[in-house]
């Protein structure tokens, strides 16, 4: 069985191109003078990496919030923001951000100050950590991780700790209810999320995001996992529902259910701290969409990358850019799907959330894994 898992994608397997960290390559490429000490180079590279990540998260948050407002507006036959910045209110989020930065930073008297101050930082740090494991293109990555998906899921779920800290430290019953719901929900949905991801992992036979992407480069870049194994589609649906619950998006936004709990764990936060939580939510949406795109929908592979490969452009900067663009396009399609679901479905009750997680998604995900393994075994026997 394990051998099968390792050899699962053997049909389409090819060796992914070897490479190193692009910051390292950048340092080698730059004409730096000899006298700069090694530690300064390392610090500079780390700084550049952090800068790229911060820029990425800010851009994702700014763009997604604008997109969310436009999408929700059009789904309700409205226009959404139209004035700020001129063209279709593109600068609305920037204006909102400036407003948030100017707001008074309030900490309630009864709050646990240390935890209260620390919780937005932990939430944001964990999402930065998870995004650091994300490859941006075949040769643009911070670290080549063979267990990339493990890293992302493990570090990404530490946001829950930040949320629980925020709820507990606020000294408010609404916040605490929100935090408890978050804890219950995340514990319930981590299981189907991980199990559903096992299906493409079995199909592709790798935990690395780069390798998983390279293994899906079939005809016209359409050798996506979802076409390789029929169980990938139900697994994707389960993964997607669990991802919605993980990122606290409607219909699973119970931790901040505004009609019941004021704003849940966010009740006592204002200004910049609140905006950190908000940034985390949108970055987490992007992250989950990227994971879904990489493991179900081909990652960097698309007809465009296939054509470039035929043209022998592999390894050039154009190829890397096209790979990056493909991934971002797929990720934002996923983000759009999340928004579509949010503005379609009403919020579910907490007991319905629990029922769905434990009684429906978990067993169905297990059935999918079993089915995928059997499918791969049959394929293995038939093809050999």
């Amino acid at each position: 069985m394990f051998a099968l898992v390792q050899n699962g994608g053997g049909v389409l397997a090819q060796t992914p191109n070897e490479g190193t960290n692009f910051l390292h390559e950048l340092l080698l490429w730059l004409p730096l003078p000899e006298w700069i000490p090694g530690w300064a180079l390392v610090l500079g590279a780390v700084g550049a990496g952090v800068g790229i990540l911060v820029g990425l998260v800010s851009f994702i948050a700014l763009w997604s919030v604008w997109m969310e407002r436009k999408v929700s507006g059009h789904m309700q036959c409205r226009n959404g923001p139209m004035y700020a910045g001129g063209w279709h209110g593109w600068a609305q989020t920037i204006a909102d951000g400036i407003k948030l930065f100017q707001k008074e930073d309030m900490i309630p008297i009864g709050a646990d100050r240390v935890l209260f101050v620390l919780s937005p930082a932990i939430v944001l740090a964990s999402i930065f950590g998870a995004l650091a494991a994300l490859p941006l293109s075949y040769d643009w990555y911070f670290a080549r991780m063979d267990l990339g998906i493990f890293t992302i899921l493990a570090i990404g779920s530490t946001t829950t700790i930040g949320v629980i800290m925020a709820g507990w430290a606020s000294n408010s019953k609404w916040s605490l209810y929100g935090a408890m719901r978050e804890a219950a929900q995340v514990v319930a949905y981590e299981i189907p999320l991980g199990i559903a991801l096992m299906v493409p992992l079995i199909t592709l036979g790798t935990f690395s995001l780069l390798d998983a992407s390279a293994l899906q480069s079939g005809f016209f870049g359409m050798g996506w996992a979802i076409f390789q194994n029929p169980l990938c589609l139900p697994a994707f649906i389960i993964f997607w529902i669990a991802a919605l619950a993980e990122t606290k998006r409607a219909p699973f936004d119970l931790p901040e259910a505004e009609s019941e709990l004021v704003a849940g764990f966010l009740t006592e936060f204002s200004g910049i701290r609140w905006s950190f939580f908000f940034m985390e939510e949108y970055a987490a949406m992007f992250l989950m969409s990227v994971v879904g795109a990489v493991f179900f929908f081909g990652g960097f592979e698309s007809p465009a990358t296939y054509a470039l490969r035929i043209a022998g452009m592999e390894g050039t900067i154009v190829f890397s850019l096209v790979c990056f663009g493909t991934l971002v396009l797929k990720a934002f399609t996923g983000v759009f799907l999340m928004m579509w679901l949010r503005w379609t479905l009403p919020r579910v009750r907490i007991d319905q959330v629990m029922t769905m997680g434990y009684k429906y998604l978990t067993p169905l995900a297990l059935i999918c894994v079993l089915g995928a393994a059997i499918w791969e075994a049959i394929l293995h026997i038939v093809l050999n």
Binding site: H74, M75, R78, I237, W340, L341, T344, M356, Y360, L364
Partner: protein, 196 residues
């Protein structure tokens, strides 16, 4: 077996209803928005809409019919009368009180107060809700002209009258001239006496 059927039915229901919902929201997403960008674009307002009043001040004769008709006494007007012409001081309508009942419009003998189509009454202070409906204060330019003309006419008439009177007096004077020589001498004497 029944529970298994129910379980599968629940899964199917959840998926199916989600897809139906997504189809509906997707349809709306692709539609054109039905809202308009309010201050820039406005929906057409019906002809009989009862908005903020407007006054045709030239026609108004300050008869107070509208003010008397107003059930909540929110119309106040003040004008000084110069013969036939009016010198306007104020014509205020307090929109804190006004209920847009249109009762002020009907009794107007000159048909000069109307309900308009403007409805936005946003102000920074309550006192700004007391609108002055006058488009100009004092007298209208043409009223001024009319008044001047009337004055000129009046003056001319008066002058003509005076002239006629003077002429009459003169005619009477010439008749008396022969007999009145003594009286004028008398008068001179009287004057001289006064001086002395």
């Amino acid at each position: 077996m029944v529970s298994t059927k129910k379980y599968i039915g629940n899964v199917w229901n959840a998926l199916h209803s989600t897809f139906v919902g997504m189809r509906i929201t997707g349809k709306y997403f692709l539609q054109k928005p039905i809202t308009v960008q309010y201050p820039d674009q406005r929906l057409p307002i019906p002809d009989r809409y009862r908005g903020i009043h407007y006054l045709e001040q030239e026609k108004c004769i300050n008869c107070l019919a509208c003010a008397r008709a107003c059930p909540i006494d929110c119309i106040e007007m003040d004008a000084i009368r110069h013969g036939k012409e009016l010198e306007w001081v104020s014509f205020t309508l307090d929109y804190q009180k006004c209920m847009f009942c249109e009762l002020c419009v009907y009794p107007c003998p000159k048909d000069c107060i109307h309900m308009g189509t403007e409805f936005a009454l946003v102000t920074e202070d309550r006192s700004e809700l007391k609108h002055d409906l006058l488009s100009f204060k004092g007298m209208a330019p043409d009223a001024r002209v009319r008044m001047k003309e009337a004055e000129v006419k009046k003056a001319a008439k008066a002058a003509a009258k005076e002239a006629a009177a003077a002429q009459k007096a003169q005619e009477a004077g010439t008749e008396e001239d022969a007999a009145g020589g003594a009286s004028s001498a008398e008068g001179d004497a009287g004057n001289g006496g006064g001086e002395a």
